[in-house]
Symmetry: C2
Subunit: 190 residues, 2 copies
DNA sequence: CCAACCATGTAAGCTGTTACATGATTGA
DNA sequence: TCAATCATGTAACAGCTTACATGGTTGG
């Protein structure tokens, strides 16, 4: 029975974690998960079967999800306790400048999944780390503009950087708005 | 002499094209190119030697760049005619919704490189395709919001989508601003 | 009965990264 | 002379994609 220990140390990939987030929001079949990637603006990942099914198999072998018979014909994947645990660990990570700069879409995806955790404190902490990351990123951009390389930018180059600056400003406004909305939802609930 | 035909069909990867863009802006050594990734907000790629040097070797074997002795000690890579050709082909591609949605940073990077082409017509065409792509992407997001999946969004999910909407609106404003700036620069030059 | 959709899978390969090594040059 | 920076490289592999296959179910 050595097989039951297989993959004990392994952590899921980003695609795997995204699948965990979706399964957590509601048990689904592989096909249903594909359709989410196909029909929603998650964007980052391909909806092709060659992407999703191998990832699901791996998650199952790691015992983060398990198939259970569902309504009518098919089976749906459910999150296991272990699966819920790694998902929450992922969602609990603070947003770093590096994440925001290199894969901002993941930072937003994690935020969207955070809903299922239903933990206002966690959500506020997440948004605060988000705000810090964006501020730091913005400061970095401005420092670059003052550097030698920044001063030497061509017209189109500086326009591209300008977009970066305004995108970060917009993200900061969004964070504050999101914090307001979360606070409102919290006060309504009690 | 069969070796001279090697890699004739191959097209560079995104990293390769980014390197071509940088080399086109000014001949540089591998190390200097690494430092660009390290010190500028290009973001997308790692500045580690294991990324850049193999990519440069491949570009050289494809005869898109060639090393030439430069000032003092080292050598610098220069773009070949073939290299300039593939770079321009890359920069001339219109921005598609898919590119904007999946890797917006590449769309901005290509724009910044377009400066070296020094072709106002090309630049305007590029920005117009950019605008169409963003408009289409925005329309897609709004359609999603009106769909079943969109109506069923959780609070945090809809906040995440809201950010997508305002990011796209900001991008549209940026495109118009960029078009203005390009027009101004054009009229000044004559 | 046939097209469209539901549903799942494998094989091959591209792209890029991390981790590991190595040595030259130069300024304090 | 010794640390920092310049400079280049390889090996292993992670992570995902495209292309290819296959078969069941269902509604018109």
């Amino acid at each position: 029975m050595a097989g039951t220990m297989l993959g004990d140390r392994e952590r899921p990939t980003t695609l795997g974690l995204a699948l965990l987030g979706l399964v957590n929001a509601g048990p689904r079949s592989g096909y249903a998960l594909r359709m989410v990637f196909e029909n929603t603006p998650i964007g980052r990942f391909s909806s092709s079967p060659g992407s999703i099914y191998p990832a699901l198999k791996k998650l199952e072998s790691m015992r983060f999800i398990e198939p259970r018979p569902s309504t009518g014909t098919g089976k749906a994947f459910h999150l296991t306790e272990r699966g819920r645990h790694v998902l929450l660990e992922w969602l609990s990570r603070p947003v770093t400048v590096d994440e925001y700069d290199r894969e901002p879409d993941v930072a937003f995806l994690r935020f969207a999944f955070l809903d299922a955790a239903n933990d206002a404190v966690l959500t506020v902490r997440y948004l605060e780390s988000f705000e810090s990351a964006v501020k730091e990123s913005l400061a970095g951009l401005r420092a670059f503009l003052r550097s030698d390389e920044g001063e030497a930018l061509t017209l189109l180059g500086s326009l591209a950087v300008q977009h970066g600056v305004s995108a970060r400003k917009a993200a900061l406004r969004w964070v504050r708005h999101a914090l307001d909305m979360v606070a409102m939802a919290g006060s309504i609930q009690r």
